[in-house]
């Protein structure tokens, strides 16, 4: 598994199984079409959503968007509380960690995901997120089904939470197709008063 929010419902490599069983075995959350300003009070952020995307109306995944289907591309936003154990490495963020150290923990967490093959780091750099000192990670990997995926992840620690804004897509065709829409969403990302 890669990240707590997405992985529970959409483990890498199991997307095909999930879709083929097509909600026959477990309840699937409905999808709702979204566009424009969106405020997630409970998670402490607001963002402008691109047109033509669908949001999973799930209480388990706080924020998950897709255009063609989750195994082809998704945008997710979630946050991890400092001190909480990460699912793959069991590591924890500590208050006051530098963006570079947070990025290193995130990178190891991603690399340790279940079913990850041929992991390749493309970029690891300081990058502000919503005006806070943060980082950018870009990497690619293959699932156990042989599907090559690319992911761009932005993150920042804001007080006692690490925010993640990320985009994952099939390396072929889909990643380039919707990268610009993701970057516009990321530029619009703001932490609200409830998130501080």
């Amino acid at each position: 598994m890669l990240h707590s929010g997405i992985s529970r419902r959409h483990p890498v490599g199991a997307a095909v199984t999930r879709a083929f069983l097509a909600c026959a075995l477990t309840a699937c959350a409905p999808w709702v079409q979204v566009e424009g300003p969106f405020r997630m009070e409970s998670q402490g952020y607001e963002v402008v959503l691109p047109a033509g995307w669908w949001r999973e109306a799930s209480t388990e995944n706080p924020f998950l968007l897709t255009k063609d289907g989750v195994s082809l591309q998704y945008i997710s936003i979630d946050r991890v509380v400092v001190g909480d154990e990460l699912p793959n490495t069991k590591k924890k963020f500590a208050k006051g960690m530098s963006p570079d150290d947070v990025a290193a923990v995130e990178l190891e967490e991603a690399r340790s995901g279940q079913g990850i093959r041929s992991f390749a780091l493309v970029e690891k750099a300081p990058f502000p997120l919503a005006g806070y000192p943060g980082f950018k990670l870009a990497y690619s990997f293959k699932t156990e089904d042989g599907l090559r995926l690319r992911r761009v992840q932005y993150g920042a620690m804001v007080r006692d939470r690490v925010y993640r804004v990320q985009y994952q897509a099939a390396a072929r065709y889909y990643f380039d197709k919707d990268l610009a829409a993701f970057e516009r969403l990321r530029e619009s990302f703001r932490i609200t008063d409830s998130g501080i």
Binding site: T17, A19, F20, L21, G52, G69, T143, D145, L147, Y174
Partner: protein
Amino acid sequence: MPPSVNLYQLAVGGATQLIDEPPEAAKQLVATAIEAELRRHADIVFKPFPSPSAGHLTSSDLSAAEIRAELEETQALFDAVSAEVLLHTYPSDPDQTFPEKLTNFDYSLGPEVQRLAKVADADALLFISGIDYISTGGRKALIGLSVVVGLFLAAASAGGGGGGRVGLVVPPGLTVISVGLVDATTGDLLWCNVHRRPWRSLTDPAHVAGLTASIFEGFPGNWKLREEDDRVGSPRLGGALR
């Protein structure tokens, strides 16, 4: 393209596990059934995808290893695409449907498919995926129990005049076959059909023949791949049914 077939065990709780045995017999059955269906379409010239290990691949610059890697990656993308097609464009669950995909079906494998099309010397590529979810013994027992309990509840409901709908449903295993015709230049999905049926098996010739016949019922004739080329009919399909 060479059919991709995977067999999974489906446990009591719904967990799936890939069965390690290579499903060669099932692959051969699927390949034979689909080749038989394609022969019914006179407007299509089907030719098998050449084996990557064959020494006569003069039309491609790719090595055998590169072709195998291309096959694996492209098939994996097709599997993901066909899964999302099933989930979001088939009306099994309205909450999962993306309506604009029904009017603007823009799924694609990308222009990288040109590399395989060059090897196959084809105008279009036919991708085939088969998945069998086979219930374990424990799950079969639970399904049997659910039928008995369901009958009992139905009888009780009928006798007692209960107004509520009562039932215990344990889904059986599933067999899924998906077939997609892909434009060899753009990678766009020209046609795709996915069928899933309970109580079937990809190791049973009659089941496979029935499933593939259903899939190709809606297969259109008179293919016109690209407007600008004005090429009507007879696309050469780069399949690989060996």
